[in-house]
Structure formats: C-alpha cells, structure tokens
Symmetry: D3
Subunit: 130 residues, 6 copies
C-alpha cells in the first residue's frame, strides 16, 4: 500500500453549543494543521499515487470554504456541533467530491484520510475508503 501526505492549515472561530464541552461552549477558535493522506494499492504510470500539485490545490479549495470564518454562521453547518471529528469528516467528504470531479478514474485511490491537529497535544481524524 502506498500513501502520500500533504499539510496545510485552517483558522476558524466556532462554539460547541452544549454543556458537555465546558468552556468550549463559548465562541472561541482554533488552528487546524491538516494532514491529508491519500492511499493507493498501485502507482500511476508517472510513479505517483496522485499529482501532488492537484491534491494540494483541492485541499486548499476545501479549506477556503471555512478559512478565516465563524463556523456558527455558515449555513450548511447550522445545527451541527462542529467538533474536530465532525470537521475531519466534513473536509474528507468535501475533498473526495472534488477529487471525483477532477479525476476521470478513481479506481486506483484506496482511501482518503484527514488528520486535524488542533494543538500540540490533541488531534482527530477521519478516513474513508473509496
């Protein structure tokens, strides 16, 4: 199994609107340093899992939907508790949709995973098999 990883980051404000989250119930924010990991069982004829420039560009497009924003005011996220786990899933799904639009053939892609590192001591991730 092959994997490639690229990194980028995302700055957002949000509140986790439930007593369960203690002080994180307040409006605050976070930097998510994102590891995007794409895996494949075989390489393309160029000996790559995917064009790394394409992967980086699509990741940036996914990030730009939320970057420098208050998630509490984004229509599509209304009613959701925007935990790190939830955002990892959301961004992974967003990325896969974009990838399907770009690639004529997804058959070589095995899975897509995003790790959202929110501090030096905590992260969450979501991985989806294609």
């Amino acid at each position: 199994m092959y994997e490639v990883k690229v990194k980028d980051n995302l700055f957002i404000a949000h509140s986790l609107n439930d007593e369960f989250f203690g002080p994180a119930k307040n409006l605050h924010g976070a930097t998510y340093v994102i590891d995007l990991i794409i895996s494949s069982k075989e390489l393309s004829e160029k000996n790559v899992v995917i064009d790394i420039g394409l992967a980086s560009r699509l990741l940036k497009e996914c990030i730009d939907v939320y970057n420098y924003k208050n998630l509490d005011e984004i229509e599509s996220l209304k009613g959701f508790i925007t935990t790190t786990e939830f955002l990892a899933c959301q961004l992974t799904n967003d990325f896969i949709e974009k990838l399907k639009d770009e690639l004529s053939n997804m058959s070589k892609i095995y899975s897509v995973k995003m790790i959202l590192n929110e501090s030096h001591v905590a992260s969450a991730s979501y991985e989806k098999k294609i």
Copy 2:
C-alpha cells in the same frame, strides 16, 4: 473510521536484565512521550469519539501507576523485561480496563493504541481491537 489522539508523558527508571540489551542492561531511565489513539466507526450524539477530558484523565491515571518510579521495584512487573513494546501493551490494557469501568457502553469504541516515543529516533506501539 474516526480517531482521536491525546499526548502525555511518563518518566521511569528500569533495567533490561538480559545481555541481549547491551548497555541498557544497566539501571537507566527514559521519558516516554505517549500518543493515545482511540478509534471508532461512528460518533456519539455529541459528535465525538469519546469525551476527550475523560480520555486524558484515564491516561493520566494509567501513567501515575509508573510515573517517577523504578519499574524494577514494582511488584506486578517483577520477572518481566520492561521493553518499550511491553510497556505500550501494558498501558494499553490498563487503559482499556479503566475505560470499561467508566463507560456503560464500549460498543462504539473500535480500538485503542498507544505509541511510546522514547527518543527523537525511536518508538514502539501496541494496538488492541475492542
């Protein structure tokens, strides 16, 4: 598959009492920077894998059994070679026991993994499916 990760660390003395380990046969010590990774196939109603505060507290309790101690003098470890692999397994099992005591329902937890980073160039880990 979702994962969450939290970090903590553990300071111990020990000796690896076998010629196989060369100079590590002597009484020496190590810092283990621990990555605890908990995975789940679906999120709770709060959109989390697990209450991260609970996971951090239970990890701290597991660490406290060994922290600032000489493992050679801990009764339950007598006769064992306390390699990093062995300790990763021990701490993972300790954590799972505590988790079972705290959670009414473990059915959403898929696996628990601990990575013990012992220097900038070496680590060992153990992962157990629930």
Copy 3:
C-alpha cells in the same frame, strides 16, 4: 546563561479589524501553542532557573484570561489589533506581573520570552529583559 522552557496552548476567536489583514479581517480563530522561556545567569540553590511547577501554573493562569474566548469582546483589548505579536507581548507582560507577585526576589531572572506558534509554518514571539 540558563533557560527553561514549558509549553501550553490557547484557543481564541478574534478579528483583525483592518484591510491590511485581508481575510483575517473576518471573525475567525486560532490555536496558539505557547513556548514560555525563562532565562537566568545563575541557578537557585535547588539547581533550577525557577520552580517549573510554579512557572506552568502561572502560565496557565495567564492563558485562562483569554482561553475559549472571543478577544473582540474582552474589555481590556478593545481598540487593539490583536495580532500574534501583540498577544505574545501581552501574555509576557501578564506573566511577569504574576511572577513578581509570587517571587520575593526577581534578581536571578534575566528575561522572559513567549513564542506563540499559530500554525505549522508561522509564529511570533516577544522577549523582555527583567
């Protein structure tokens, strides 16, 4: 010259209210992973720069003033552009004030520095000689 360093982190929302900052003019947020560095020309009789437990506790107290908050709504910050540089200075000054209250004698402390890491590619710091 001796130094000790401890790490902690801070989650905030804010907006940088000036066209100069482009999209960061919007309400968004950040995690600051903070390196607190205290330097001294000589050690105490316990062979330390400072009681590390005390330093960590005072750092946590400084962080708690802003943690899980929207800086735009904190009275003492009204009218300031809360850049990473500005916050590094603010937190360093806050820390020094607390340290003066705790230590009978600051004469051995040479300087206090805080590095605020805001992503995997950017940070800002402020250092003040005592």
Copy 4:
C-alpha cells in the same frame, strides 16, 4: 498489533524526467527523513518486535546504496522515475531482502513500512505485508 519505529535520513540528487513534474524535471535533490516501521502480532522471548540495533543497521545499509549519490547514474534505477513513492517501495523491498538474510525466522514479522518525509509539508510511504 505491535510496531517499532526507527528514524534515519538519506541525501540524494535526481531528476524526474517527465514534463508532468514541472521544475522537478531538472536535476535537483532532496533529504528523505525515513521512518521505518516494523509490525508484529506477538513479541519475541526478549519482549521486542525485533532487535532494534539490527533494524537500524540494516536500514543504514539500505540507505548507503543511495546516500550522497545522483540517482540518475545508478544502474539499477535507469529508466525509472524516482519519485518519493517509488523510492519508499524500493527501500522497503531492499530492507525486507536484507531482513530475510539475517533472520532465521520471519514468521513473527507482519509488515514493513517506510515513510519518506521530503519536507515539512510532504511525505510518501510504502507498506508491505510479509
């Protein structure tokens, strides 16, 4: 499942001789910081996945074939596009061959993985089950 990880690094020159790679078509170079990860379902009688000294020595031998060289001039690589993915696969296979020569019994080794970190924002890996 147990894993052990050791780190080393490799300095090479190469060119990726295809328009697909843009400026990387030119002769340039890279440092690959390598994470070698060996996994096993059970430990040896010494409570280890593998003798870490042996693993480090074999990794060094694999690296030495390419270290401080121009890959474009290595006979066995002629005609291949030496992407990070390709090199991860090559080094993993080289390592497994050496391991088979050294170990009388490979039955406890479950898989070998190499992650080649080529910068602070990109890496590629290859994992092979034994």
Copy 5:
C-alpha cells in the same frame, strides 16, 4: 524584542568539492526546511513586525533562484563550497536586499536570521543585524 517566523523549503543538488566532506564530495542533494526569523524592537502601527505576506513572498523569491536546481551549475556560486552555513548566509543576504527594495523604511527591522534544517538531526543558520 519581537520576532516573527515563517517556514518554507528548498530542494537542491550540489557537491561539496573537497576531501574534507567525505562522501558529500559526490553530487548529491538536500531539502532545506527554512525558518526565516525577522526581529524588531517595536511594532508597526498595524501591530506587526512585518507584513507576513510580504515576508513569505520575498522568501519564496529568494528560494526560487536555487529551487529544483544543481548549485554546481549556478554561475554566481561557482568556486564556492555550498555548505549549509554558506547557503544560510547567501539566502539571508539575498532576502535583506529584496527587503530593502520593498520597504521604504528598514529602521524598525533589527535582524534577519535563516535556519536551514537539512535533516531531523542537523541544521545551520546565519543571522545578520540590520
């Protein structure tokens, strides 16, 4: 004293043409992960050391002169031993020249430093006071 840091990276081939360097005498290559650190005794009216977008763009321009190239074939480097120390100095001086062209007033800039991280265990840096 304030500092800001931004990171980028550079891929080059070169040879260190002197017996002193052992195997590094051969044509090989390296990734330099670069930390650019700019310090200032006071902030601008926008509460920054420097426009971080400008600093990142100028750093990228400095890198682009050498990126994806064989340093042995760059006219201005002919006859120089292109050690990491030498390149840190070269890039720092290149950056300062560009900065002078862009800023009407350099009086607030105290120093510029570049750290070139060439592996997980080695780096070199150069710092110049303005």
Copy 6:
C-alpha cells in the same frame, strides 16, 4: 553570526533528592534529546562553523559518560542535584573541554549551547561564551 546544530540523546536514571521536587524525589529516569548548538562569527576556509563529524563524535563521547547509567551512582555527581539545568551545564562544559583538546585554535568559536529536551512540553539549556 553562524550556528550549527546537531541532535543526539541520552537515557539516564536519577533521583532529585529534595522535597522541593515532589515525586521526582524518587528514583526515576528520563530521555534527554539534546540539541548541541555551536556558534561562530566567521566560517573556516571549508565554509563551516566546525567539522560536523567532529562535533557529533565529541557530543557522543560526552553522552557516553552518563548514558544508560544511574546518575546517583556516578562519583563526580555525588552531592549534586542533577536537574536538567545542571546536566545541560555539565554536558556543555564537558564538550568545551573536549573541543579544546581537539582544536588547535578555538578563536573562531563564539559559544556552545546545549538544550536538553526532557519531554514534549519541557526543556532546559545552558550556553557558554568561549
């Protein structure tokens, strides 16, 4: 000012024999991941601060005096509280002595610094001007 940095690590047991240190009064241990930083105002004729191979070898020799040992039983440390600050100073002085024995001319070396990273959240350092 130029700097070079190399990394290595040290595994020790010790006890900090004073109530001041709480649980660290017990026999325990630590890994110190060591950053050795050597600075110089000008480069040698080979364009280096120092032969990096020499620096790494001398650092290893300094480490070997304490590595895989119980510091409480080392004669020259008897009666000292072996805090991280103290060890950073000890190792820096040991290194400078070795360097003086090896180099005919220390006049280009400006300072030697060692940072002892003892966990993911704490470190101490000592720097000495030559």
